[in-house]
């Protein structure tokens, strides 16, 4: 019984630690996603009418950009709720 309690306390503390870790990187993660989105958009600018960099470069980088393309697509899908995401991030309710 005491062992169970100890494990529970350990799990609880781990959870708190994890939550702190996540909170501490939340803003940086948001910034990272934005940068990844911007990077993909810079290369794929022709989709949204932005001036594009050399097409050769876009084509050469494309095979390595799975992550950025994924983020860009997610961003485009969630576009209508960008204010919601920002509000959540800054705890505005």
């Amino acid at each position: 019984m005491p062992r169970r309690i100890l494990e529970s306390i350990q799990d609880f503390l781990k959870g708190i630690e994890q939550s702190f870790r996540e909170q501490s990187t939340e803003y940086v993660e948001f910034e990272l996603r934005e940068l990844e989105n911007v990077f993909a958009l810079l290369l794929m600018g022709s989709f949204v009418g932005l001036p594009s960099p050399p097409t050769t470069l876009t084509m050469r980088l494309l095979p390595h950009m799975a992550r950025e393309l994924y983020v860009m697509q997610r961003r485009a899908e969630d576009m209508d709720d960008i204010l919601g995401e920002l509000a959540g991030l800054f705890d505005i309710t």
Partner: protein
């Protein structure tokens, strides 16, 4: 001899530019023939989609350099074939890499790229880069170019590409820094796409995108280094003594100056010389005289060479040798 047409440092690159129909191909072919005669191993390449280099040499030319005479090699690049081949190779490559990524509709991305503006310029630049990379095989490389507009855009591309590469490297560096900061706290970052899970790189040396960007930058830097080096590259403009080719040459000069590409010689082709008065030609001759005077005032620091209008079309080796001798000098 005009020193700026001869190899000085490793090899010499000559771009012969001008408006359509002024005699670019004949001029570039003559220069190549004359230089080959002077024992410089010379390659002449036509980048013009509407090739007529083969017509001037009166032989059939292809993608690979064909030996036409001692020290003289010529080729005509099929730009359409080049673009098609390039895109096909890339499509195959991309579909192979992305075979697991069903979340991304790759065809849609690819269609946009296929029709993206400027693909012809980039393909031309790639072709030039490939030839310059093997530049040491030759003493002189003469490029017979498409009409001025496209050529100037191609020559401007390395500088523009460098700016883009630098900006993208900056953004990429920031991405990697943020990733590293998060990974320090949370451990390695994972990204799951479809069935496969991959670790996101946080170091520059392990990031494929950064490596490719740096590789691209150094390739573009190499082309830029060659085409802006006065000891390696000279641009020769060909024009007729008429107002429109003059305006185009002035515009070309200004653009080349902006991108620091050395502009050295203007060949004024088809200058009419008549003795006595011919009333039917008076208007034409007056216009010619006016343009020749304007050239004198407009282009300081650039040599101007007048080539007379010949009684017959200068085709075939003998004619080319004669004309080339006049341009290269003795």
């Amino acid at each position: 001899m005009r020193e700026y047409l001869l190899p000085k440092k490793d090899y010499r690159v000559l771009f012969v530019i001008g408006k359509g129909g002024v005699g670019k191909t004949t001029t570039s072919a003559s220069i190549a023939v004359a230089l080959a005669e002077k024992r410089y191993k010379t390659l002449i390449v036509s980048l013009d989609p509407a090739h007529n280099l083969g017509d001037v040499f009166m032989t059939k030319l292809g993608d690979r350099p064909k030996k036409l005479a001692e020290n003289l090699y010529a080729s005509e690049l099929d730009m359409e074939k080049l673009i098609k081949g390039y895109l096909e190779h890339l499509e195959k490559n991309l579909k192979h890499t992305y075979r697991y990524l069903t979340v991304i509709n790759l065809d849609k991305y690819f269609e946009v790229l296929r029709y993206s503006p400027g693909i012809e310029e980039y393909a031309t630049l790639e072709a030039i880069r490939d030839i310059l990379m093997k530049g040491d095989e030759w003493d002189v490389i003469v490029f017979d170019t498409p009409p001025t507009g496209l050529t100037l855009r191609v020559l401007a591309l390395p500088k523009i590409s460098l700016i883009w590469a630098d900006k993208l490297i900056d953004v990429r560096r920031k991405i990697l820094e943020k990733r590293a900061a998060i990974a320090n706290i949370q451990g390695p970052l994972k990204f799951k796409a479809g069935e496969e899970e991959a670790e996101l790189p946080t170091e520059e040396s392990r990031d494929e995108v950064m490596n490719e960007l740096k590789k691209y930058r150094s390739e573009v830097q190499f082309v830029d280094g060659v085409i802006t080096d006065p000891e390696k590259t000279s641009v020769v403009a060909v024009m007729n003594p008429e107002a429109l080719p003059l305006y185009e040459t002035i515009r070309a000069r200004d653009t080349l100056k902006k991108f620091r590409v050395p502009f050295r010689l203007i060949v004024v082709n088809k200058v009419i010389n008549v003795s006595g008065e011919i009333p039917e030609l008076k208007v034409k001759l007056d216009a010619q005289k006016k343009v020749l005077e304007q050239i004198k005032g407009e282009f300081r620091g650039v040599e101007v060479l007048k080539i007379p209008m010949f009684a017959e079309e200068p085709r075939g080796m003998e004619w080319l040798k004669r004309l080339g001798g006049m341009i290269v000098g003795d």
